[in-house]
Structure formats: C-alpha cells, structure tokens
C-alpha cells in the first residue's frame, strides 16, 4: 500500500495540480496554445534534466550543467561573431559540451573525486571560461544570425497548431535518452553501476569507461540546451544557463519518487519537468506572487520526496 502511495503520490499530485489549474483557469489553461507554450518553455529544462538522468542513474551528479549551457551558447556566439557559418558554431558548442562532460567523467571516474566536488569545480571553470571568451559581455543583435535565432521561432504546422522546433528537439532528446537508458546494454549497465559500483566492476562492467561516456552525454545535453536557450533569447550571456541546474536536479528527484526502487527514469523525469513547468505557468496566470511561487515549488518538491522517503522507511 505504502509502495503504491509512494509511486503514485507524485503522479496523483500532478493530476491534482492540473485539475486545480483547469478549474481555476477554465478559459486559458487547457487550451492548445497554452499547452504548446508550456512545452516550449520547458524544452531546455527537459533536455538538461533528461540528460542529467543519465548520470543520476549511476548515483552521480553533474552540478556543472548550467555553466556548460552558458559556455556552449557563448562559444557558438563567438564563432558566429567571427563570421563562421551557423553549423560550425553549433558543432563547436556541442563539441565543447562533450569535452567538458568527458573532463567531468575523468575527474569522477579516473581521478576519483566525488561528483559533487568535481562538478562544483568545473561549474566554476566553465563559468569562468564563458566570461573570459565573451569578455563578460552579452552577445546579441547582428552577431546572432537570424537562421540561428529563427530556429526558436520556427515550428511544424499541423492544421491550426504550430508545434515549436524547441518542443520537437526536446521530444527527440527525451526519446533518445529513453532508448539509451531503457533499451540498450549501455543503459542497463549504468543502472547496474547505480545499484552497486563494486559489484558491477567485479561482474566485468567497465565502470570507468561507462561513467566517462555517461558524463560526456550529460555535457552534450547541457550544451544542446544552452544552444536552445541562446536561440530562444537571440543572444548569449555568460550566466544565462545557471538557473537550469537546480531545476533539472529537482525534476529528476521528483521523478525518482515515482519509480519502484527510487531510481531515476527518463519518463518520470519528464513528469518532474512537467510539474515544475505547469506550476510556473499556472501560478503566473493566477497572479500568485513570484516569491510565494518559489516557496510553493520548493515545498511541493519537498513534499513529494518526503512522502517517498517516509514510505521507504515504513517498508524497511
């Protein structure tokens, strides 16, 4: 019973939140336009959170994703400013993401630094690099090619509805992450590492190498989200991705309350992302004070995780 409550509590809470907003905002909340808006607003967080799930299944963390998102946006913008084509900027930014992730993986799995400490260090390094490259300035205006920022405005029209490219991109990333974690040997091994690193190593799983790969995928995701962010705001700023990290971790934690053994799952992370986004959208429409909104979001995350934690204790 407690197990069921733990697993379904967060989902039920999400449904209640949806019902609450649907009742309070009958004309605006459940409209196609608003739902598409929410999907677009959440797209960057969804990418960071689902790729963060990849390292979190191994009980690891990546605190540097926000700084990496900022750095990738700056790298792309600086390359655009130098007159190179858009694809060069995008490729370089994504490569920086992979390399940054590999560096995180190296520190964690080869050097053996705790993920919290290692990625806290690289958070500062990536952030400093973003400031250094941009000279602390926001890159905007003519330096950002219209074909790049236009991506955030583009979409695929289906009848009267236009599905934004940012939403489609996030959907693709979620699908790929889901396939990787749920339907490949690589994913299953990551879950095994999360279950018991020592036992996985003894069972012949190449723990060091897999952790390297996992961190580089998270870095790649963070860089991708940074590019999406830069396209959306048509500019690149050395601090613009910093808010993504805590929300991404909160979303994964919310999602973890829904899985059977408390392990992260991509689909549940997506529900976590949706909870955060729907709360933001609905409370803005209800004109709840910004600061009250922050307190409520924090309390809801705490409530969900507390219910999960208490039910685990009861089981034990």
């Amino acid at each position: 019973m407690m197990q069921k409550l733990r697993q379904s509590g967060t989902l039920l809470g999400f449904v209640l939140i949806l019902l609450f907003f649907a009742l309070k905002l009958p004309d605006t909340f459940l409209t196609a336009r608003n739902l598409i808006n929410i999907s677009q607003q959440l797209s960057m967080l969804a990418v960071v959170a689902t790729t963060m799930t990849i390292v979190m299944v191994m009980n690891d963390f990546d605190l540097s994703v926000g700084s990496m998102a900022s750095l990738s946006g700056i790298v792309a913008a600086m390359i655009f400013t130098a007159g190179y084509p858009v694809w060069v900027g995008l490729s370089a930014a994504l490569l920086v993401g992979v390399l940054g992730g590999l560096f995180n993986g190296f520190l964690v799995s080869v050097v053996g630094i705790l993920p919290f400490v290692a990625t806290l260090g690289t958070l500062t390094v990536f952030s400093g690099m973003a400031f250094l490259l941009s000279d602390g300035k926001t890159v905007f205006g003519r330096d950002i090619p219209a074909s790049f920022s236009g991506f955030a405005r583009a979409g695929i029209e289906i009848g009267d509805i236009k599905i934004p490219m940012l939403t489609i991109t996030a959907g693709l990333v979620i699908f790929i992450c889901w396939c990787i974690l749920e339907h490949t040997n690589f994913g299953r091994r990551l879950y095994a590492i999360g279950g018991n690193k020592e036992a996985s190593h003894l069972a012949g799983i190449k723990v060091v190498r897999l952790r390297l790969y996992a961190f580089s995928l998270t870095g790649l995701g963070a860089a991708g989200a940074g590019l999406m962010y830069a396209a959306r705001v048509a500019s690149a700023n050395p601090t613009q991705g910093s808010g993504l990290m805590l929300d991404a971790i909160a979303a994964v934690f919310l999602g973890m309350t829904m899985s059977r053994r408390g392990e992260p799952k991509v689909i549940y992370t997506l529900v976590g992302v949706l909870i955060l986004g729907v709360l933001d959208n609905g409370m803005t429409q209800l004109r709840v004070d910004s600061y009250v909104r922050e307190i409520l979001v924090g309390l809801i995350v705490l409530a969900a995780v507390a219910v999960a934690s208490l039910s685990k204790l009861r089981q034990a």
Binding site: F20, N37, G136, T138, G141, S242, R287
Partner: protein, 303 residues
Amino acid sequence: MKTLLKTAVSLFALTASSAWAETVAVITPYLAQPGTQMAIEGFEAAASEKEWEVNVIDTAGDVASVISRIEDSITQNVDAIVIAVDPAQVNVGLQSAKEAGIPVVGLDAGTDPLLVANVTSNGYAMAAETSVYIANRIEGAGKVVMFVFDAFPPVQIRGVVADAIFGNFPDIEVLDRVTPDVSDGGIADSRAKMEAILAANPEAGSIAAVWAAWDQPALGALQAIEGAGREGEGIVITGIDANPQARDAIALAGNFEASIAQDFGAMGAAAADVVAGAMSGAEQRARVIYVPTKMVTANNAGQ
C-alpha cells in the same frame, strides 16, 4: 499525499481572493535590484491611481523565463505588458505580444521597435557628468581607476562614454579598467580589487580618481582607500545611481564626492502614462523617454 492536498488547498486559498480580470503584467528578472524595484513601485503607485490591476513577476535573473511569462500573460489576455529587461533578449516574446495586439512598454529596458517606448534615464549623460566632474576636479591630469560592467548594456554604455571623455584629456591615464564580480553585490569584490591596485601604486598621489559606473564599486573603492589609510591623498571617487548608502558616504564630504540620482519613481509613473496612452490607442512618437537626473554632492546628499 496529505501534504500535497494541503498545498493544493493553500494554493486555492491564496488565489481565491484575487479577482479574475488582469490588466497589466510587469515582468523583470531584476526585481532584487533597488533601482528596478523603485521604478516598479513608482509604476504600481501610478497604476493604482488609474485603478489598474498589476501583476509583478520576477524571474530571479532568468531571462528566458521572461519570454515564458510574456507568453503566459498573452494567454491571460492582459491589456498591456511592461518589461524591465534588455528587449533584444526577449524578442520572441515581444513578437508574440505584437501578434496578439498587446502593447509592451520598456521600463529602464532598452530601445526596440517592438516596444511602444522605453522610459529610462540618459545613461550617456550620467556617465558624461561624472567623468567630466572627475576630469575637472583633477584638473585634467592624473591616473584614474575605472570600475565598469560591460555584460549589462545599460551599464556598458556608461563605460564607453567615460572612456571617450578620459581619452580626450591627454594627461589623464586610465590606470585600470576593472570589472568586479557582482555576485556578492559588488562592494566586497570592488574593495578587494581596489586594495590590490592601491598596493601596486603605493606612492601618495599616484592615483588621482576612481570612476565607477554605479555606486557599489565606488563604495568598495572608498572602503579600500580608507582601509589603506590613504583617504588624505585627495583621491576623488564618483558613482552613479545615488543609492542611500552612497548618499550617506557623499554627505560625509570625504573621498566619495559625487553620484547621479535617477528618479526611478518618476520613471515608473512615466511608464504608466505611456501604458495608458497605448491602451487608449494614442500614437506614441518618442521611442525613448528620458526622465531627468540630478547630480548628488555633499551639498545636497541629505535632501
């Protein structure tokens, strides 16, 4: 589960008392900044006289969330939106507002064709006033330390003007152009940077002045100069914004000699007038509306 239900009930209670009709959404990532706060309070005061309902939304530094909140406000069908953020960074949201026929007014934001108008202080003029004040006080000769912040466009332009003015005096040398870390509010890191500069220039009179693009670095520099016991060397400090802490320092008639007071309250009230005009369909010709500023020195700092 219980907790979740309770939270939902509190949410309901929180919002049950508020009316449905909304009119003006004020959206900013910088509500924690005193200037933005005062401008928005000025707007709210003017809006309450006009009996508007105002929804102030702070995205706590997140610029992309400003776009999201603009989209939410469009969904709500508000009558007007006021933004206090660089419009170039929220262009997608401004475009959506234009398509929905909702006027957007900038409050100390920046100019953009998608804004009805931007109401602000003249940053170029403020920087010119303080840098010319320094040039005159040091009689056109000496080493000047500049504190700038090029990442934020309204502050960046101040640095550009000061560069030009100091560059026009052949005997003024810009000793260092410092960008302080503002994550601690700007005072502490500016103090540390100034302490290092003072240590590198130990001779009395080797630094003639400190020009700061806003007040916090000026206060940090003042603390460093006093801490090093070099307040008697006549180092002239100027800031911009004239916040209460800066006014107190200026009133003591020490090294911190001048700052420029922006009338944020008047800025908010002027923005409310622009919103009123836009909602009534009146044509807004001036795309930038400057609110007058005033130089604050020891003579008027207490006023």
